[in-house]
């Protein structure tokens, strides 16, 4: 039986019509074999446009539909739905892109019209070979995995847990809270970071729907949307969480003091410690490297003093397998290593510090009790803050780290308030883009901060004048005046940029997600799907996707939570049937496809000696189809017959 094909050419307002002679295309389509009807319409995606299709299917008995309009990314689903509502299988439809691939890229109407005819002709040829496919539905596990317990992960966890869903929150460090726990004040409002963060941390700890897995990481992740299995490694704390009541006696009595990572090495902590007093969970960990029991087999003071018998030196690493329906990665960022830029002398010149070290100095419960101090214990009379360290720099990271201008100005304000000294900002451009940010910049300008437009070339201790002796001299070209300035100061703060986590590549591999060129996780669409990834059911939020400030991170945490809730409340998900299928007869069992599949969707059947595709895991990328040396793999809706029909038609129409 011959197919009855309907062709619909869309004007897209003037987007297509002003470059393509749509009438001409319709007339051409009407002459093609098996075309029963060809029409044009202003907006095919509108309700009346879709109605045209449905009506024709019913009244003219169409068996195939072609719409020539925009990119399938835009409206393929819209038209598939219309076709289905008209009573046909939705895969008996083909979209011809005459906007992005024709009208928008053409300069002459004649050529564009010819090109549109070629594209439509190919779609008509192809659609005749298309087969009805069934969409599979699978149930969704309502539990959610969140990786990373910074402010982003906390926000996402609370949003999801509040809706009654179970959340597993995995945090690598002994406490949740992330970088924000280490900041003093937040810009531009100057409210205290801890005051707004710690209540949320406590909420996480007390929430009945959140299972907090701190001091743990994800080592494996498999399955498909709605049905994932996550393997969690729980590192031993050597303190039993169920027994410990967080009294802190062990920490108080521990005889070993070492530099505290939390304080950037500026303060001390014990060998059994909580990173900071408001840690969540409020349970210490033992640092094996320094604990006397682990290094020398002696001491056990903590065991002696613990009123609950919670210390357990025999604790071992444990692995947990969790079943979840969706995952959010909120793994944050690493700070740029300032010692890489040798000309600023970090690590070589005393009193050159990083911005995070400044935060710890400035923090009321930091190592100096909130005082900004030089190595010699004195208060600096002048401080220079250097912007863009490691950012906007082709030698290191090309991108702007977004937060540094604002946190630098916050530091300038705090430095001036705390030291009453002179504060200089050396900047390339001031990027004050958020709500209230420009106003904060204005405020700083009216305070006594001196803004010098010029990226610092170096920080040197080589004095040229008596006034420079014994001080740090910031050398920079003042680009407003066109002069080189030498500015002697007592302290230099390097505003370091944000980088992807060192192990971002490992995590991306575990979760089968991509990274952008800068190394951060890649979102599905930079504007329209900012927290989704190319892998269904896996979402990203916060600075693991790119540098972000606190408001944006929180917004993304909540956005990812909304995406997850919308997914799991559907209770079931449909899986695209456009997957690869292996013909067992032709499969030679060479296993080449196993190594090619980026989604681990192919397994090998040892008894039959053939490869098999798991439909649920297959994303239909087609790599195995192209790679199979026996031609045994075919992708549904992209069969050889369909593709060849399309190609032949285009080649035949070539002028």
């Amino acid at each position: 039986m011959a197919e009855k094909i309907g062709v619909y050419v869309c004007h897209c307002g003037s987007n297509i019509a002003q470059m393509v002679d749509c009438k001409n295309v319709v007339d051409y389509a009407a002459t093609l074999p098996n075309v029963t009807v060809a029409r044009e319409y202003q907006y095919m995606c509108s309700d009346p446009g879709q109605e045209l299709i449905k009506k024709d299917i019913k009244e003219l008995g169409l068996t195939r539909v072609v719409v020539a309009s925009c990119s399938p990314l835009m409206h393929e689903l819209t038209f598939r739905r219309a076709v289905e509502e008209g009573g046909l299988n939705q895969f008996l439809f083909q979209m011809a892109n005459i906007r992005e691939q024709c009208s928008w890229i053409s300069e002459k109407k004649e050529m564009a019209t010819e090109r549109a005819k070629a594209i439509v002709g190919a779609a008509v040829k192809r659609v005749a070979f298309q087969e009805p496919l069934e969409v599979k539905k699978v149930p969704v596990n309502p539990n959610v995995l969140i990786v990373g317990g910074g402010i982003t992960g906390i926000e996402a966890a609370l949003q999801i847990a509040d809706s009654g869903k179970k959340v597993y929150l995995v945090e690598r460090e002994p406490t949740i809270g992330g970088y924000m726990t280490r900041f003093d004040k937040t810009f531009p409002t100057l409210d205290c970071a801890a005051c707004i963060l710690t209540p949320k941390m406590v909420n996480v700890a007390q929430h009945p729907n959140i299972e907090l897995l701190s001091y743990s990481d994800v080592t494996g992740f498999s399955g498909y949307v709605g049905n994932f299995t996550a393997r969690i490694r729980r590192r031993p704390r050597y303190v039993e969480e169920e027994k410990c009541n967080g009294c802190g006696l062990c920490t108080e009595k521990c005889p070993i003091s070492v530099p505290s990572e939390f304080d950037c090495g500026l303060g001390k902590r014990k060998a059994i410690y909580r990173p900071f007093p408001q840690a969540v969970p409020n349970i210490p960990v033992i640092d094996r490297e320094h604990c006397l029991f682990f290094t020398k087999g002696i001491c056990k003071v903590c065991v002696k003093f613990c009123p609950r018998g919670a210390i357990n030196f025999d604790q071992k690493e444990e692995f947990l397998d969790l079943e979840v329906g969706a995952a959010i990665l909120a793994t944050g960022f690493d700070l740029f290593d300032a010692s890489k830029v040798k000309q600023y002398g970090y690590g070589r010149l005393p009193n050159v510090i990083t911005s995070l070290e400044f935060e710890r100095f400035s923090h009321a419960s930091g190592p100096t009790g909130g005082k900004i101090l030089l190595k010699n214990g004195q208060t600096p009379a002048s401080i220079a803050i250097l912007h863009c360290i490691g950012s906007r720099d082709t030698n290191f990271n090309e991108y702007c780290s977004r937060v540094c201008c604002m946190y630098s100005m916050k530091m300038a304000h705090l430095a001036h308030e705390k030291t009453e000294g002179k504060v200089y900002e050396f900047y390339i451009d001031i990027r004050a883009f958020g709500k209230g940010y420009e106003e904060f910049y204005k405020r700083l300008l009216s305070e006594e901060t001196v803004f010098i437009r010029g990226k610092a070339a170096e920080v040197t201790d080589v004095a040229q004048t008596p006034a420079e002796k014994g001080r740090l001299i910031v050398v920079a070209e003042d680009t407003l005046l066109g002069i080189v300035r030498r500015t002697p100061v007592d302290m230099v703060v390097l505003s370091v940029g944000l980088e992807p986590r060192k192990d971002a590549a490992d995590l991306a591999r575990i979760f089968s997600i991509s990274r952008s060129q800068d190394g951060f996780f890649l979102e599905r669409h930079p504007k329209l799907a900012p927290v989704s990834t190319a892998s269904d059911g896996i979402f990203i939020a916060g600075s693991c996707q790119g540098p972000k400030d606190i408001p944006d991170s929180v917004a993304q945490g909540a956005a990812a939570a909304a995406n997850v809730l919308s997914l799991i409340d559907r209770k079931e998900v449909t899986l695209e049937p456009t997957v690869a299928v292996i013909d067992e007869e032709s499969c030679s069992g060479c296993k080449i496809c196993l190594g090619l599949c980026p989604y681990n969707a192919i397994t090998f059947d040892e008894t039959k000696k053939v490869s098999k595709v798991n439909d649920a895991l297959c994303k239909g990328c087609g790599v195995c189809v192209a790679g199979c040396p026996s031609g045994a793999i075919e992708q549904r809706n992209f069969t050889d017959a369909q593709l060849l029909a399309e190609v032949e038609s285009v080649c035949a129409s070539g002028k």
Partner: protein, 292 residues
């Protein structure tokens, strides 16, 4: 380890001692330096900025001849290094330049496929020969000798990627292997004034002065160099600096290869330590001669 050796013009004249000592210590470390036959000027220092294409042609000819001998090029002068590396780099990046250079080379029956690596001798010694072999050659360690390690502006900039561009450490490392004590020298990669000395002394002299200041204030008794021009500038203009600023500098200068030679037990004359303008006799007597 075999290299085509490109001495460059200054090593044939003013900086002969560098050439002598470089060949000597290389030989003793098993680095076979075969002077590139019929080599020509590298185009330093201003030619590249005035006649860029012709400057590339000069370097390309040297590279092509090294390629014909199937050898990498070992260079001691950072200006030569920079020019040869620039041509190598831009011929790889810029197809149009490559075509032009290739057609010019053809006229001289030469061709260049881009296979030659240009290496500075210091990089070869530190990265390829390495600590244990250098230390094994040290028979008279330079113990107690405090040296300011001076790299100058062109050792890693713009295209050397074997050391930090702004604060290199390779020479420091090598001096330690020789038993010497490299002193803290924050200006180690700063400009010496170089060619400016001939055109604008008022800019160049303070640069030399600040280098000498920093080297001596940090305890340096002498300065080790890797660049013939830096060496000459810092040595020949100490008198002028003293006159202009009423200072009293008499800081001996050594090529790094001369210091290696001393530590390896060669005699001073072989190393050209008798051709210097500022005598190192007293300093060497104080530290080394007693044991000799």
């Amino acid at each position: 380890m075999e290299f085509a050796y490109y001495p460059g013009c200054s090593l044939e004249g003013m900086n002969k001692a560098y050439d002598q000592s470089a060949r000597l210590v290389s030989k003793s470390l098993g680095i076979d330096l075969k002077e590139l036959n019929d080599w020509n000027c590298c185009g330093a220092s201003a030619y590249m900025s005035i006649r860029e294409l012709r400057a590339h042609l000069l370097s390309a000819r040297n590279l092509a001849m090294a390629e014909r001998e199937k050898k990498d090029l070992a260079v001691v002068c950072p200006a030569c290094y920079t020019n040869l590396t620039k041509t190598n780099h831009y011929m790889g990046e810029d197809a149009r330049l490559r075509r032009t250079v290739e057609s010019a080379l053809k006229a001289a029956n030469l061709q260049y496929m881009g296979t030659v690596k240009v290496r500075h001798l210091l990089d070869v010694i530190v990265s390829e020969i390495g600590e244990s072999e250098v230390r094994a050659k040290v028979t008279k360690p330079l113990s107690g000798l405090k040296i300011a390690p001076y790299y100058g502006c062109q050792f890693t900039r713009p295209l050397g990627d074997y050391d930090d561009k702004e604060f290199p450490t390779m020479l420091d490392t090598l001096l330690k292997w020789l038993g010497a004590e490299p002193v803290y020298f924050p200006l180690k990669a700063k400009c010496c004034g170089g060619i400016l000395m001939t055109t604008n002394e008022s800019v160049a002299l303070p640069l030399v002065r600040s280098l000498l200041d920093s080297a001596t204030q940090n305890g340096g008794e002498c300065i080790a160099t890797i660049c013939p021009l830096c060496h000459m500038t810092l040595e020949a203009y100490q008198g002028d600096v003293n006159k202009a600023f009423s200072t009293g500098f008499k800081v001996p200068m050594f090529y790094f290869t001369q210091l290696m030679g001393l530590a390896f037990g060669f005699n001073k004359k072989e190393l050209g330590i008798n051709q210097e303008l500022i005598s190192s006799k007293a300093l060497l007597e104080k530290h080394l001669e007693v044991a000799r």
